[in-house]
């Protein structure tokens, strides 16, 4: 069964990327795969925006990158979370939790009234 795919809300791609990278050093292709898998295929990463996002985060110093041997034996560019990235991730997830909680609350309340 394929569930309907959702577009990523604006600005959440960075957070998802940071979260995935936080688990372990990982390369671009795997990040895309991982997000897709974890979200049970709901979230489709637009390929056109993954790499600009990775490079933006790298430029901001939230991610660090280095070339390493991958699981298939070939070299790949692995991204790691920096300390600055960890702080940023914490902020963004907290933020997101607050926001989504609030939204859920509103939706539930209005449903109840209807």
């Amino acid at each position: 069964m394929t569930s309907p795919k959702s577009d990523l809300p604006q600005g959440t791609l960075d957070m998802l990327v940071l979260q995935v990278v936080a688990l372990a050093p990982i390369h671009g292709y795997a990040i895309a795969q991982r997000i897709q898998q974890i979200s049970k295929e709901v979230l489709q990463i637009p390929q056109g925006s993954l790499y600009p996002a990775l490079h933006r985060l790298e430029n901001k110093g939230l991610l660090a990158a280095s070339w390493d041997e991958s699981e298939t034996g070939r070299d790949a560019k692995f991204y790691r979370l920096t300390r600055k990235g960890r702080v940023q991730l914490k902020q963004e997830t907290d933020n997101w939790a607050r926001l989504s909680g609030a939204v859920r609350l509103i939706l539930r309340t209005t449903e109840g009234e209807a």
Binding site: G28, Y29, Q47, G48, S49, Y51, L54, H55, N59, R74
Partner: protein, 872 residues
């Protein structure tokens, strides 16, 4: 930035890795290699866009883009060196010309004056209402009243200037001396380099101290930079004392308000006491500094009120007299500034034409590059990126043009200052400084934007898809309208400049052709100062002796001597009264004339015609003489048919004790004080020259070129007495040239600008026509193949040319009719709408248009139909 190739490689490798993994996953899913790659590529999307997206987030990425654009632009320029070169030369002319003129303008701004806060300095001058308001300087009692009553100024100083002879050295020297009140130096904000300036008690009439301040130049030249100069004495002739004590030396570069002064003396020390209490003796100007917060208008209002009070209190001397307050920069730079602003306006027109020309070149080229641009657009370049690229290209061109232009400007400014006919002040130091550099950069950027905007507009208008499909053959004429509009603008701007230059050239011709009332060709002029012998009633050298010596010089035909000669600026105005006419003190009706004391041969030497009666004779040259000669304009007051000979007049008022003088002759009117016309209508009168003057001017008519006898004349004068100082020894044509220097400078510059403008407009026109023929080669070939005659083909080209020129001409002539107002004040002997000039410019452009269309038209008739039809 530094790791650019690395980062590019990195990015490339990373994206390839991603694609490979995606492909590998599809292969694992059961697809064959090729299909897997295809699917992967589809899914991944445009690699180049992803790359571009990843690059965009890099810091300072825009610099990379810019560098790329510039590199691309340089490559594009190198591909078409002819195009690039003509664009650069054109822009260099426009940018260089405007930078050069701006350099001059910038050097004449108020802040460049070598005084402290020059914008707060003003000059106060007396005025009198006659036929028009005329400036008449101040009398000393008036000055004292102004100073006592005015509250608008921090201080006031009287100042006057004169040439005096410095003696006590091997060779006497004429130097400019300023007579100044004590506050003069502090008003200008200049402190002495050594010693002191004048003190308040030296501003009092009875003060007998003979003190002077000298310039740095004089100190070095005449005193060998003597460190103990303060306290030394100097000998000067013409003043009340024999020797003067130096109390101070001014800093280098300070030359006073006259910009030539080398010596300063206290104002009151020199004047005879009587003159200082006479309200009718007006001869000096007043320097003042506005108090903070007081405007020129406010000061003027106050001085007008003071003038009115003085008029009431002293009607006999001050009726219809007022005060004029003018800023010092207007006094010192007011004559040169309007000239430069006019030229700046003109050169901006040249710059616009240059931009239009380059824009047209670019439009023609972008027409040829339409496919390239369309391809780039289709590959994902946004309209903004295309504009940026076009701009980079034009900016590369205009930057190259600017570099060449600034070099050109340097050269031009040097030429103008070194060899130009306009005498610029000594502190005038035009330099390509930061202001000028900023101007040049602004002009360059502006022209770059202007030049690239037009082609860009055109690419925007043109839909891109069709141009991908169509071949060059079917190229539409979308750019035509735009290019024609640009050419029309160019032609009309060039017409404006040509009309301006034409009017000025004609005006200079009129000025030169004008008969000034005397013949200045073949005349050598000089001035001498004759030292007085202490205690003697007569000067050491008599004028008569001097003239005899000069007349003996081979080549000299006649020699005249006078208190002043035409155009030397030393004419003195006097009031006079005519026997039988009612007396009046109203300056509007009171007769005034300029008095010249002259020797018998004066009129002969200058070829001033004797209209009636006779010239002076040797018998007239005695103090008891009552002979006077008047100009025709003065004789006219006796009415037509009335014989002026024998009529009597006297200087001053009717009831004065001055003797009656009888008119013995009438001479022609002379432009004595300014060319082409005297600044006011007051006539001239001549009295016999007596050996009273210590300063005299000579006019020597020669049978050979005047310059060739100059040294012989100098020797002859020096032989009479070695203490005579000689100055201003030059052919009289030089005086005339100086009189016309400003208008000749403007005319010459305008002429150059107009010529450049005409040339650029023609090149532009030629370019458009040549392009038209090239574009329609096929069509013309078909026509010729179908039997069209050459005449019809020529007509095709000429029609285009005529349409553009006629419209441009009409707009240009209308514009010129409005814009020539700017030079109206410089015109002489013609109106600013002179029909001859306008018609002439029209003819020039028609002829030029024919010339510009000749080659393209000829080329059109030579088109070989077969070749044209085969051509893609």
């Amino acid at each position: 930035m530094g790791g650019r190739p690395d980062r590019e490689h990195d990015l490339d490798k990373e994206l390839r890795d991603h694609l490979d993994r995606l492909t590998a996953d599809y292969v694992k899913g059961g697809l064959d290699e090729r299909e897997a790659r295809r699917r992967a590529m589809l899914e991944f999307g445009g690699i180049e866009q992803i790359k571009e997206g990843s690059r965009d987030v890099r810091p300072l990425h825009w610099l990379d883009v810019l560098a790329g654009d510039v590199r691309y632009a340089l490559r594009a320029c190198c591909r078409c060196p002819g195009f690039a070169l003509s664009a650069i030369v054109t822009l260099a002319l426009g940018i260089g010309g405007s930078t050069a003129v701006f350099t001059l303008v910038s050097a004449t701004r108020t802040a460049m004056l070598p005084f402290a806060d020059p914008d707060r300095l003003v000059q106060l001058s007396g005025t009198v209402m006659r036929a028009q308001l005329e400036r008449r300087f101040a009398s000393y009692p008036d000055f004292l009243d102004w100073r006592a009553q005015a509250t608008s100024f921090t201080d006031m100083a009287a100042f006057d200037q004169q040439r005096l002879t410095l003696t006590g050295f091997a060779e006497p020297e004429r130097i400019v001396v300023e007579f100044v009140s004590a506050p003069y130096f502090s008003l200008l904000g200049v402190a002495p380099m050594q010693g002191r300036t004048f003190q308040q008690d030296e501003d009092v009439v009875s003060n007998p101290s003979a003190v002077i301040v000298i310039s740095d130049g004089l100190w070095r030249r005449r005193f060998g930079a003597d460190p103990r100069i303060v306290g030394r004495t100097i000998a000067l002739t013409g003043g009340p004392f024999k020797t003067y004590v130096v109390v101070g030396v001014m800093p280098p570069g300070f030359r006073g308000l006259t910009d030539g002064a080398e010596l300063w003396v206290p104002f009151l020390q020199w004047a005879p006491a009587g003159i200082m209490t006479d309200r009718n003796q007006r001869w000096f100007a007043v320097l003042a500094r506005l108090k903070p917060g007081v405007s020129v208008g406010g000061a003027q209002a106050e001085m007008t009120a003071i003038g009115a009070r003085l008029e009431q209190a002293y009607p006999a001397s001050n009726v219809k007299r007022g005060v004029e307050v003018t800023t010092i920069d207007r006094e010192l730079l007011g004559r040169v500034r309007p000239v430069l602003f006019t030229l700046l306006g003109a050169v901006v027109l040249v710059l616009l034409i240059a931009c239009a020309n380059v824009a047209n070149l670019l439009i023609a080229r972008s027409q040829a590059r339409r496919r390239e641009l369309a391809v780039r657009r289709a590959l994902g370049a946004s309209a903004g990126r295309l504009l940026a690229q076009l701009m980079a290209e034009t900016c590369v061109l205009s930057a190259a043009g600017a570099l060449a232009g600034v070099a050109l400007a340097r050269l031009a400014v040097g030429l103008v200052v070194g060899y130009g006919p306009v005498p610029f002040p000594s502190y005038f130091a035009p330099d390509i400084d930061r202001r000028v550099a900023a101007f040049a950069v602004a002009v360059t950027l502006a022209s770059g934007v202007l030049v690239s905007l037009l082609p860009w507009l055109q690419t925007r208008v043109a839909t891109l898809l069709p141009s991908l499909k169509e071949s060059a053959r079917g190229a539409t004429d979308r750019g035509k309208g735009l290019r024609h509009a640009v050419i029309v603008a160019e032609v009309s701007l060039a017409v404006v400049l040509l009309v301006g230059a034409g009017l000025l050239i004609k005006s200079v011709r009129n000025t030169i052709a004008m008969n000034p009332g005397f013949d200045y060709t073949g005349v050598l002029t000089l001035a001498v100062s004759v030292p007085r012998v202490e205690g003697a009633s007569r000067p050491a050298v008599e004028g008569r002796v001097l003239l005899e010596r000069v007349r003996a010089v081979p080549g000299v035909v006649a020699a005249g001597l006078g208190s002043d000669i035409p155009l030397d600026g030393n004419a003195v105005g006097v009031f006079y009264a005519v026997e039988g006419e009612p007396s009046t003190i109203d300056p509007q009706r009171r007769p005034r004339a300029y008095q010249h004391r002259v020797s018998p041969d004066f009129f002969k030497a200058l070829r001033i015609p004797i209209v009636r009666g006779r010239a002076f004779t040797q018998a007239d040259q005695v103090p008891a003489s009552t002979s006077v000669i008047v100009s025709e304009a003065l004789a006219a007051r006796f009415g037509p048919g009335q014989d002026p000979i024998g009529r009597r007049l006297k200087f001053g008022a009717l009831n004065s004790t001055n003797p009656w003088l009888s008119i013995v002759g009438v001479v022609g009117d002379v432009s004595y004080r300014r060319l082409p016309r005297n600044p006011d209508g007051d006539p001239d009168l001549y009295t016999p020259f007596l050996d009273r003057n210590s300063q005299v001017a000579l006019a020597i008519r020669t049978a050979v070129p005047p310059a060739s006898v100059a040294s012989a004349v100098r020797e002859a004068v020096r032989a009479t007495d070695s203490s005579i100082a000689i100055y201003g020894l030059a052919p009289m044509t030089e005086m005339v040239a100086q009189q016309t220097s400003r208008i000749r400078f403007v005319t010459w510059s305008m002429g150059v600008f107009a010529a450049v403008a005409l040339l650029l407009a023609l090149v532009g026109l030629y370019g458009v026509l040549a392009y038209l023929v090239a574009q329609r080669t096929r069509e013309i070939g078909v026509r010729l193949a179908l039997g069209a005659r050459s005449a019809a083909v020529v007509a095709l080209v000429v029609r285009q040319s005529a349409a553009v020129v006629v419209v441009g001409l009409a707009i240009g002539l209308a514009g010129a009719a409005a814009l020539t107002r700017a030079i109206e004040g410089m015109l002489f002997g013609l109106t600013r709408l002179d029909p001859g000039t306008f018609a002439g410019v029209g003819l020039i452009f028609v002829a030029a248009a024919i010339a510009a269309s000749y080659v393209p038209a000829r080329r059109a008739t030579r088109i070989d139909p077969i070749v044209a039809l085969r051509e893609d």
